[in-house]
């Protein structure tokens, strides 16, 4: 049997014959339950659209205020940029860098990498020369892209200062809320096996 007809579970190393999974079904490892293959019809197009939406939402969220505070007529709106740079000065500058990376740079980079990898596949063109390293990087960065965590952080902050001042959620908050949905749906749609089949060299 050719090795290409086998699949090994990344979580328990069990070896299986690649099942004939129809679109909409999922093949899981019979020993540990990890989903191995979960193809979907039109998943590529959906992922590409979601990535575009993510780029638009992050860029939009950069310019609008997240939360605005008002006490006795004095108002202040915090934009994403101010949040990311609020640790400026001293060694805490590192935290600013990490926050900026987690909520702006990495979500944008991942969306860009997915667009680069999957757009040719969706339009039945040959994969780009660097498609494999690009998708590999996108997978490695997945845990570090934290837009959805930031959105929940906004909600927590809101409850913390709600007693002290009038706080309103800005447009950027709702953009990030939408980004959470987009990110979750996108991660559900990506069948890694199918992507590697489409872009891999072997």
């Amino acid at each position: 049997m050719a090795l290409a007809d086998l699949v090994a579970c990344p979580r328990c190393d069990a070896l299986w014959r690649v099942p004939a999974a129809a679109p909409g079904t999922r093949a899981a490892c019979a020993r540990c339950g990890t989903v191995l293959i979960s193809p979907r019809r039109h998943a590529g197009m959906a992922i590409v659209s979601m990535s575009l939406a993510a780029v638009v939402l992050v860029f939009g969220a950069l310019w609008f205020p997240f939360l605005s505070v008002e006490v006795q007529g004095l108002g202040h709106g915090a934009t994403l940029w101010e949040v990311a740079t609020s640790f400026a000065g001293g060694p805490l500058f590192v935290v600013s860098l990490a926050v900026t990376a987690a909520i702006v740079v990495l979500p944008l980079l991942r969306a860009g990498l997915l667009l680069y990898t999957l757009t040719p596949v969706v339009f039945d063109r040959p994969p780009r020369p660097l498609a494999a390293p690009a998708f590999r990087l996108s997978e490695r960065l997945r845990p570090w892209s934290m837009a959805e965590i930031f959105a929940i952080g906004c909600a927590v902050s809101l409850t913390k200062v709600a007693d002290l001042a009038t706080v309103t959620l800005g447009p950027a908050f709702w953009m990030f809320a939408a980004l959470v949905v987009v990110t979750v749906v996108q991660d559900r749609l990506v069948c890694r096996w199918s992507v590697w089949q489409a872009i891999g060299r072997a």
């Binding site: 090795l3 090994a8 935290v95 929940i152």
Partner: protein, 200 residues
């Protein structure tokens, strides 16, 4: 026992790519499909888990000696009990549970333990999933600091504790990522090869 045993890539003399699940003949250095480095079992994986684990614990101590717990207690006294509980859970309970869970998993890779591989894999997945969510503390500090810059409410200055806490979260995530969950299942083959123990 029988439902736990499966033919593994390693037993078949193959090496599996953990990134794209493709298998290659044993000893192949790099996956020709996705380009990831291949290693059937990395002998240094557990050392890396423990190294990041120690770094995480070391960074966690100053993060909480600084006013994180004090702040939560103040919120509790001020009546914001729900928020105080959320902060306490996110900054004290969950990090501690994560440290214990990773240590347990790493220890279970080399010696017999009570929990089945299934239960331990579930535990690993929970730790892996929850790890990122601890960053919420750092984000909340950043949001509050930028929100009250104008001194309209009060001045909030992020302290060095936030740096220590961020380092702790990142180290713990790297520790969990360094763990190879396949080690949870290797014990089954090891036990099968060893003479059967007498039933208790």
């Amino acid at each position: 026992m029988s439902d736990l045993h499966a033919l593994t890539a390693r037993e078949a003399g193959l090496v599996a790519c953990r990134l794209c699940s493709r298998v290659w003949p044993g000893g192949t250095p790099r996956c020709a499909r996705c380009g990831a480095a291949l290693q059937s079992r990395d002998p240094l994986a557990l050392s890396r888990v423990w190294a990041w684990w120690v770094a995480g614990v070391m960074a966690y101590v100053p993060a909480n000696l600084w006013p994180m717990i004090a702040g939560a207690l103040e919120l509790w006294a001020g009546g914001a009990r729900g928020v105080a509980l959320i902060i306490l859970a996110a900054s004290v309970l969950i990090p501690l549970l994560k440290f214990f869970a990773i240590a347990y998993l790493a220890l279970s890779a080399t010696r017999p333990v009570l929990l089945s591989p299934h239960a331990r894999l579930r535990l690993y997945e929970v730790v892996e999933y929850i790890g990122r969510w601890s960053m919420i503390d750092v984000f909340v500090v950043a949001i509050l600091a930028s929100l009250v810059q104008l001194d309209v409410v009060a001045s909030i200055q992020p302290g060095p504790a936030s740096l220590a806490f961020a380092l702790s979260v990142i180290s713990t995530m790297l520790s969990a990522q360094a763990f190879d969950p396949r080690a949870l299942w290797d014990g089954i083959e090891r036990d099968a090869a060893a003479p059967a123990r007498a039933p208790a």
